[in-house]
């Protein structure tokens, strides 16, 4: 474990910034009307995807949600293949058939993202079951939001994960809102991880804006899963500082709350930490510039790629 090395910290930072800058660029393209479709973005939750996926290899798998860009980047998809997908090109990671809400690539262990809230939990559980049946050492991670835990499918999945002691981690990104609805209106429990007890599995709540804390908590849970200890429900506390989707002005979030959250967002916090550890602002800016350049290349290449022929739609539904 190189969790204390400066290099390691910088690599986490690089991934978080890659997600942030990717999302900012996409937002711009979208608002300018250059990018088609609809988008749900990940700004402010970068620490979670990065902290968790750092423990996963390509052979480990994740399911994602309607808000999948961060998971995809953290899981190793190239921003180029993602950008092509967002522009609906056949060269995208889903050949233009998926789009933002279904981004994924099994070559990197990411199933097409699942835009039905909660729908990914049973699927990830089945992936974990496959590992167990084949006695393979891989692990599955089901990402979901705080709103998703109220879906029946999540309940059913977690119970199955628990009774069969499967190698899976249910990561709940508690950003305190499901669309416009604040969490206080959808559950009475103090921590969503308290629900783990209903399935007889460990439940852990972690500061989801602290990438190192997430890294550590996820490490334990994934290690437990990988070594036969069964599933964990890992709740990561964060805040949705971006709109729910595209042009959402978030008027339902109290201004005080939003303001406070902005001072706690993970990149601000990790930057402070890195500076305190002797990293220089210049080095961090250098990372950002590199990342921006990579994203820009992806944008240019995606925009230059030809549109798919309409008839491509008819190809490939069945093997």
């Amino acid at each position: 474990m190189m969790s204390n090395s400066m290099e390691f910290h910088l690599s986490l930072y690089r991934k978080m910034v890659m997600i942030r800058q990717f999302e900012e660029r996409v937002k711009y393209l979208f608002l300018e009307g250059i990018m088609p479709g609809t988008i749900h973005q990940y700004q402010g939750q970068e620490a979670i995807a990065v902290g968790v996926c750092e423990h996963l290899a390509d052979e480990d798998v994740i399911t994602s949600t309607h808000r999948p860009h961060g998971h995809a980047i953290a899981k190793g998809l190239s921003v180029e293949s993602m950008m092509h997908e967002l522009f609906g090109k056949s060269t995208g990671c889903c050949a233009g058939k998926g789009g933002s809400m279904h981004i994924g690539d099994m070559a990197h262990g990411m199933a097409p993202a699942i835009a039905i809230v909660g729908g990914g939990a049973p699927i990830a559980t089945g992936m974990a079951l496959a590992f167990t049946m084949r006695k393979q050492p891989q692990v599955a991670v089901a990402f979901m939001g705080d709103g998703a835990v109220n879906e029946g499918a999540v309940h059913e999945a977690m119970n199955m994960g628990a009774i069969w002691s499967l190698p899976i981690v249910y990561v709940v990104e508690n950003n305190r809102y499901s669309a416009s609805t604040p969490i206080a209106q959808t559950t009475k429990v103090a921590n969503l991880a308290d629900r783990a007890a209903a399935y007889g599995m460990p439940g852990v709540t972690v500061d989801g804006n602290d990438v190192l804390a997430v890294y550590e908590a996820a490490g334990e849970a994934i290690h437990r899963a990988r070594t036969g200890g069964g599933p964990t429900m890992l709740e990561a506390l964060t805040y949705r500082i971006t709109g729910h989707s595209r042009r959402d002005p978030c008027l339902y979030q109290p201004e005080e709350e939003r303001k406070a959250a902005l001072t706690q967002e993970p990149i601000v916090r990790f930057t402070e930490f890195l500076l305190s550890q002797g990293h220089t602002q210049q080095a961090l800016d250098g990372v950002r510039d590199e990342v921006n350049a990579e994203i820009e290349r992806a944008v240019q290449s995606a925009m230059a790629a030809p549109d798919p022929a309409p008839e491509e739609a008819l190809v490939g539904l069945f093997v």
């Binding site: 789009g99 879906e151 499901s178 416009s180 609805t181 604040p182 959402d248 798919p308 539904l317």
Partner: protein
């Protein structure tokens, strides 16, 4: 009399019905959060200010919320339950198909289940899981009426009729027809606004309407496809073909007298729908029309529909998926050509 979009007309309809009848209430996700959007397409925007206790925001729990609506309906409430996208109704499918559709019948036809369900359909650049056209799947479920408004006038009138109906009614709405505004504007939206009368009115469930009169061919379509059929009729008119466009407005019950009369006049028909062809609504309409009007039909009923694939994301592919004006016009020409042949034969 005021010009309104479908979203506005539905909102007004809900407001009026909730004012008229204290048993009417709305239940759904994100429908009444102050500062929110009034549902995914702004239909309930602001209603929470007037009816704080009757706009019920739920957790993301579709089976739960449709079951809750059912239970309250049995007890005499008149819920209007919605899903943000019709695709999510599959999460509540047991409640809708096994419970809501059968509860009255199983009770020996003693209970009533006055529930209105709202579900937005249509492919709109969001990928396969936010795009289903669910009409055909519910057509085969006895116990649920289905309405499909294509204009603001019909949306309001059918909504009111649905709320006042003592039976389950599924109201299919189209994302591109709402006319949602502000941050919720849809790209590719089609103007479906109407003049809405000041006085109370309903549109009877089961009654279709002729959108454009014609002699040579009958075009049948609901929702977005009604609008495309009207455009196709314009194209055809420029070629000297007179197409009659019928908007059934309700799929169940279906206005057979209206459609039959039209087909008996024109001798041929094209059924248009946005969803996949196989097992679609068009199959039922074509089969029934053939049974009812075999003697009058001069060519087989043509179906224009999407190919049998999930909805692809990429705009060129999605546009290819959704039936367009050219395909509708071509189908009309093809049935008419045959008609002329057979007449001349």
């Amino acid at each position: 009399m005021a010009q309104m979009t479908i979203a506005e007309a539905l909102r007004q309809g809900l407001r009026e019905e909730m004012t008229r009848d204290a048993r009417v209430y709305c239940i759904g996700e994100d429908i009444g959060i102050p500062g929110g959007w009034g549902g995914a397409f702004t239909v309930t925007l602001g209603l929470e200010k007037e009816f704080r206790e009757r706009i019920i925001d739920t957790p993301i729990s579709e089976a739960g919320l449709f079951g809750v609506a059912l239970g309250s309906a049995i007890m005499g409430m008149r819920p209007v339950a919605d899903v943000q996208y019709s695709d999510f109704i599959f999460c509540a499918m047991d409640q809708v198909v096994n419970q809501i559709a059968t509860m009255r019948y199983m009770s020996g036809c003693k209970l009533t289940v006055p529930i209105t369900m709202r579900a937005p359909v249509g492919a709109t650049g969001r990928g396969a899981q936010h795009a289903h056209n669910i009409e055909s799947m519910f057509l085969g479920i006895p116990g649920i009426k289905i309405v499909c408004p294509a204009t603001a006038y019909d949306a309001k009138g059918l909504l009111k009729a649905a709320i006042r109906d003592d039976n389950p009614v599924l109201m299919i709405e189209h994302k591109l027809l709402y006319g949602s505004k502000g941050a919720r504007t849809e790209s590719g939206a089609v103007d479906a606004s109407s003049d809405i009368p000041d006085e109370d009115y309903t549109v009877p469930i089961g009654k279709g309407i002729i959108r454009r009169e014609g002699r040579d061919v009958t075009l049948i379509g609901t929702l977005l496809m009604m609008h495309r059929a009207v455009q196709a009729a314009e194209v055809l008119a420029s070629e000297g073909i007179s197409a009659e466009v019928i908007d059934p407005r309700s799929l169940s019950p279906f206005d057979w007298p209206l459609v039959e009369a039209s087909v008996r006049k024109t001798g041929c028909a094209v059924v248009v729908e946005e969803g996949p062809r196989t097992g679609g609504v068009g199959a039922e309409i074509a089969a029934s029309l053939t049974e009812r009007c075999a003697d009058a039909l001069l060519s087989p009923v043509a179906r224009v529909a999407a190919p049998d694939i999930p909805v692809p994301f990429s705009p060129p592919m999605e546009n290819f998926y959704i039936p367009d004006v050219a395909r509708i016009a071509a189908a009309a020409r093809s049935v008419i050509v045959r008609q002329r042949m057979s007449v001349s034969a």
